[in-house]
């Protein structure tokens, strides 16, 4: 046995801050195997397999193009509307997937959690990592689309140096989605109503985030309110970095980072508290 013999004490409640994150490291292989499982199990027996990662946002972008672009004609600051929506949806899609999928951690895995112990955080963390693959594929498609649009002359691309911050944006969204998701997953074990709230809550949140419209399209109180949405600065900054539209918002980014940190820490604490007793309430 490689692991050292260790003494463990099981008592009714662990301390609030006794989160045992180091345990996760010992289970890093499990996290990766979960990622693999998600990927393989999801697309086995589908004909198109991971192509669905692409088809989904392309069709949605096209629909938005028709509805918001052609019918409602919401301006997109000179960026081709299809490209604008595809960019927004790709970014938003990663956050919403992290959030909704991790929020089901306890309910979806109650059977497994009821039989064997392993650090429960491995599950939501693996979801956030799985989401990265999907995001990566979509980013490749986005690059191809940008290339196509700029070569045909329909779209001027002025990429900014701030594009190097892109991994940081992704990290912020992943952590924010994770933090919110595990917070919700912990609460839904007790109050199931929250899972209903969540599904349409996330839908509403998309419209409260400048995904299919630029921040500059809004004004007054709405614009002020949008500034409190931690996702606003990410979407705006991503579009600034790629298309040079809008402006680079440092304070917004700092606000988002702070917000994310608070949510993540809170989420981990609550999750840790619930994981010790949730088997009795599910």
């Amino acid at each position: 046995m490689e692991s050292l013999r260790k003494v463990e004490v099981i008592t009714p409640k662990r301390g609030m801050f006794d989160v045992r994150l180091h345990e996760l490291w010992g289970y890093r292989d499990l996290i990766l195997l979960f990622v693999r499982r998600d990927f393989v199990a999801q697309y086995k027996q589908t004909i198109l397999g991971p192509l669905w990662f692409i088809i989904q946002p392309v069709l949605t972008s096209f629909m938005f193009y028709v509805v918001f672009g052609m019918i409602a004609s919401i301006p997109t600051q000179g960026v081709h509307q299809f490209l604008f929506y595809f960019t927004g949806l790709t970014i938003w899609g990663y956050f919403s997937e992290c959030f909704t999928k991790t929020s089901g951690t306890f309910i979806a895995n109650s059977n497994l959690f009821g039989k064997v112990y392993f650090p429960r955080l491995t599950v939501p963390i693996s979801i956030v990592i799985s989401g990265l693959f999907k995001l990566l594929i979509q980013l490749v498609i986005l690059s191809i689309l940008i290339g196509m649009f700029s070569m045909s002359g329909t779209q001027q691309i002025s990429m900014d140096w701030t594009i190097v911050l892109f991994p940081f944006y992704v990290m912020l969204m992943g952590f924010l989605g994770l933090g919110l998701g595990i917070l919700f997953s912990a609460l839904t074990t007790k109050y199931r109503d929250l899972s209903f709230l969540l599904t349409f809550g996330v839908q509403l949140l998309m419209y409260a985030t400048p995904v299919i419209y630029p921040l500059s399209f809004t004004s007054g109180r709405i614009r002020d309110a949008l500034a409190y949405n931690p996702l606003t600065s990410i979407l705006e900054n991503v579009r600034y970095s790629i298309y040079g539209i809008g402006q680079f918002d440092v304070y917004g980014l700092l606000y988002t980072a702070g917000f994310t940190l608070v949510v993540l820490v809170l989420g981990i604490l609550v999750f840790n508290r619930i994981e010790q007793s949730f088997m009795d309430t599910v």
Binding site: E8, T11, L33, R37, V40, L112, V116, F118, M279
Partner: protein, 419 residues
């Protein structure tokens, strides 16, 4: 050296629908707490007895459990369904936390609460070995090292790259157990695995458990299979209604268990006005009594069973037979016997009948009894349906095989090798 030490362990469960009203309860509980008062919901205490439906919303699944297990011991835990065995194992394997008390574990714990946890049907056998191994706490390196051993132990080499949803249930279980069996933890918790799999596989499992124990590791073994407990365990615990009622040598604890078991169901009697029956006859009482050389009141394959029936007859000069049917739990009739022929003539009043089922006739399992009163060997007057239920327990010596014999009967038939 003590590897497991359990002190004053208690576990409380909330009964019924959790959800509606729970937010109100939580708020209320919190309100009491900040005023420094006792939890208003904790005062409702009941012992874990599922035969009487509780009035309160909370139940103690375990109450003040204390025991210690030394290194290298194989501790058997027995008890009826709902006695608290599963709760105890869940707490020991950290799936849920106790309400009160403390457990000290000295070493890595692996549990086989139900084999195949985390198996994904879409993944192949190979992929599932890795996934399941990691869930049970192994690193990828460890699994890779033991991979061949696991595969050959499971005996599914040919199908290792087939999705496990195509496996038969036997193969599935074998593969799952194989992964768990190669964990090499200091403490192994095994629950009811012997219930599945064929004879060969059972032997393998038992062999593996013995290996684990003889290598100086500790095993907690929960089972309904008394023979396996007797043969494998060095010590046993009997749980009843969430408390330990007996502890010691396996044969002693098993005997207590069998003595306590189902005694209440071994007979019933009625007042005349409420007795089952009709205008021709009513049942006064039916009682089952095991007869054994050692005089112990337990029903095993080596107990003769005496059934005493008392009934009222309301038909004058009845030419009467009783016809008794013994059914297996699954509903098949095992046999039908009738009282003596030619039938006696009975007057109006109370009559008694006695039936003895010889020992070494019935196999282990649950059986039930129905009987009817028949007039002139042709006309049933009343059928007393399912008036008695009992379970025949195992009692076996000199075998290394611990599975259940097939069939409803296990008669003592002369069968010898000339040696």
């Amino acid at each position: 050296m003590e590897v497991i030490k359990v002190e004053h362990l208690s576990k409380q469960y909330r009964l019924g629908q959790v959800g509606t009203g729970s937010l109100i309860q939580d708020v209320n509980r919190w309100w009491y707490k900040i005023r420094g008062k006792a939890d208003p919901y904790e005062v409702i205490i009941e012992t874990n007895d599922r035969t009487t439906k509780g009035k309160g919303d909370f139940v103690w699944a375990l109450e003040d459990i204390n025991f210690a297990v030394n290194q290298g011991e194989v501790l058997g835990i027995i008890g009826r369904n709902g006695a608290g065995k599963s709760s105890l194992l869940k707490i020991l394997s950290k799936v849920t936390s106790p309400t009160k008390g403390r457990i000290t574990l000295n070493g890595r714990v692996a549990s086989l609460l139900e084999v195949g946890t985390g198996f994904n049907p879409e993944l192949t056998g190979r992929e599932n070995i890795y996934l399941n191994g990691a869930i049970l706490g192994m690193t990828k390196k460890e699994i890779a090292r033991k991979f061949d051993e696991i595969v050959s132990f499971s005996g599914v080499e040919k199908y290792i790259d087939t999705p496990v949803k195509r496996y038969s249930s036997g193969m599935y279980v074998r593969l799952a157990f194989a992964v768990a069996a190669h964990l090499e933890p200091e403490i192994l918790i095994v629950d009811e695995v012997l219930a599945v799999g064929d004879v060969d596989f059972q032997k393998k499992c038992i062999g593996k458990m013995k290996d684990v124990a003889s290598a100086g590791r500790t095993v907690l073994f929960v089972s309904h299979n008394m023979e396996a407990v007797k043969n494998l365990c060095s010590r046993a615990l009997l749980l009843e209604h969430g408390t330990i009622v007996s502890e010691g040598s396996p044969s002693h604890v098993i005997e207590t268990y069998l003595n306590n078991r189902n005694k209440a169901d071994w007979g019933r009697s009625y007042e005349e006005h409420e007795a089952p029956g009709n205008e021709f006859t009513r049942l006064k009482s039916i009682a089952l009594k095991p007869i054994r050389e050692d005089g112990k009141p337990m029903i095993t394959v080596k107990s003769s069973l005496e059934i005493n029936i008392s009934f009222w007859n309301y038909v004058e000069d009845l030419v009467a037979n009783l016809s008794l049917h013994l059914f297996a739990a699954t509903g098949e009739c095992v046999f039908n016997v009738i009282t003596q022929l030619p039938p006696p003539t009975l007057g109006v009043g109370l009559h008694h009948a006695r039936c003895v089922i010889p020992k070494e006739l019935l196999n282990t399992g649950v059986f039930y009894v129905s009987f009817m009163l028949v007039q002139d060997t042709a006309k049933p007057l009343f059928n007393f349906d399912e008036v008695l239920t009992f379970e025949v327990e195992e009692e076996r010596e000199n075998t290394n095989w611990h599975g259940k014999f097939p069939g409803f009967v296990r008669p003592n038939i002369d069968f010898k090798i000339n040696a």
